[in-house]
Structure formats: C-alpha cells, structure tokens
C-alpha cells in the first residue's frame, strides 16, 4: 500500500488529498514531484489534506518540510489540513507543528490563503 493523491482546485488553492503512506521511497518521491509540477504550473497556494494518511516516517516529515520551504521560496504558501493524531503528534515531537500553518476546517483553510493573497 503506497501513497495516493487527488488534486482539486478550490478558488486559487490546489487542495491535495493524500492517502496512504508518506514514507521513504515512492510516497516521498510522489509528493516531491507533485509539488514541483504545481510550482511549474504557477500554483502559489497548496493545501495538503492529510486526513487519510495512515503512516508517515522521518523521511515523510522531511518531505513535508521540503515542500513547505520550496513553495515558500517561490513566494507561495503551503498549509496542512486535517492531521491525524499520529501525524499531529509527530509534528509536535519534532517541533514542526508551529512551523506549519495547520487547519482542521477546509473552508477556513482556503480563506486563510485568500486573505494573505488579498493583503
């Protein structure tokens, strides 16, 4: 069982519904390519929906960080939606929870991008 991703556009935000395993190998590679592709298309706002992520390892966490900094460096924003307890705990332990902008309400997450865009 590896990672699956589905993309949806909501307003100016690309919402990525991730499910399965974000671990060293396939899962991480897929996530990296997906983010690269979106940036190539000029996407600025990315919301990663992690609700159905069953497993994330240290490499997966690293990949989230990498996605975050890559998007930020291009003047965009990457936010996280719907952390499972496990992912939440891992981000706490690794002190990354406050680095990311984490949401648990999709509409509010979307409008938080809009606000920034309007600023």
């Amino acid at each position: 069982m590896s990672m699956k991703s589905t993309l949806r556009q909501v307003d100016s935000v690309i919402v990525v519904d991730l499910s399965g395993r974000i671990t060293l190998g396939e899962g991480c590679t897929q996530l990296r390519e997906l983010v690269r592709e979106q940036l190539g298309k000029g996407t600025k706002f990315v919301l990663l929906n992690l609700a159905d992520v069953t497993y994330i390892d240290s490499s997966g966490i690293g990949e989230l960080v990498s996605a975050f900094t890559t998007v930020s460096n291009q003047g965009g924003q990457l936010k996280l939606l719907n952390l499972t307890k496990k992912v939440h705990d891992l981000l706490q332990i690794t002190k990354l929870y406050t680095v990311f902008d984490v949401h648990d309400d999709e509409a509010k997450a979307i409008s938080s991008f809009e606000k920034a865009a309007g600023a």
Partner: protein, 146 residues
C-alpha cells in the same frame, strides 16, 4: 536450538519493499510482548527507521547486502537488534533536529524519533564488518514519546 525463547529473527535483502513486512511483524511481536496499541505503533516506527537506516546508510542500498533483525521478548521488555553490513557511525555526532538551525532540515529525524519512542538506543560496531543497533522498550515505561 538455542536455550533462549520468544525470539523472532529476520534476514532480509536491502530492499525497501520488505520494510512493510518488518513493520507488521514488529507490531505483532510488540502486541505479544504486552504493549498497548500506542506503544506498538511507537515500536513499529522505531523499527521502521532503524531498518531504513540499515538499508540506506549502512548497506548503501546494495541489494547484495543484508539486514538482520532480532526481536526478543522478555518479561519486562522487548529488545530489538538491527544489523547491517556497513561501516557504522557515531550516533553522538548526529545533529539535534530540534535545534533552531536544523528545524527545516529535510533529513536527520530518524534517530531522534527512535530515541523518543524507545527507552534505549545503542550502536555497536561488529567484529569483522557491520553495525548493530539495539533498541529496548520496557513494559510500563514512562517514555510516552511526548
């Protein structure tokens, strides 16, 4: 047959596709050892990180090199050893991923997670060639991982 019991050993190719099997076995052995679901998951993650390190850093992804694992259930703890055929490393020289300047690093969180989830983490250079990592999780330990 040895005189020790409650041992599960594995010899694997350096193949990431074997990692999921190892995780499930780790979880099952942890359950048998008496750990609750929370701890089973922590042990599973620690084993995952250790095996990935053995394949990746130890064996440099060389499929002709092997990873050897050993779970032993004791009354008061689970002891796990992971061996690779690499040149080893000094865990004390690994950077602290919680330091401000390392926080946005892409890698370097594996050993930190293992240490957080387990009660002991030891690295030993083997005679001849290879590295052996030992993980210990005690039953009813207060190491809640948070």
């Amino acid at each position: 047959m040895t005189t020790e019991s409650n041992i599960v050993e594995m010899t694997l190719e350096s193949d990431l596709n074997r990692v999921e099997m190892v995780e499930e076995i780790a979880r099952r052995v942890s359950a048998t050892a008496g750990f609750d679901e929370d701890d089973q998951h922590k042990i599973e993650m620690a084993v995952h990180e250790s095996v990935i390190n053995a394949i990746w850093h130890g064996n440099k992804n060389d499929p002709s090199k092997q990873v050897w694992l050993r779970f032993q259930i004791f009354d008061d703890r689970l002891e796990i050893r992971v061996r690779d055929q690499g040149i080893g490393f000094d865990p004390s020289s690994v950077a602290n991923p919680l330091k401000e300047e390392n926080l946005l690093n892409v890698s370097g969180r594996g050993i930190f997670l293992i240490r957080t989830f387990m009660d002991e983490y030891r690295v030993k250079k083997l005679e001849g060639q290879g590295t052996e990592v030992t993980l210990v999780k005690r039953l009813n330990s207060n190491n809640s991982g948070q």
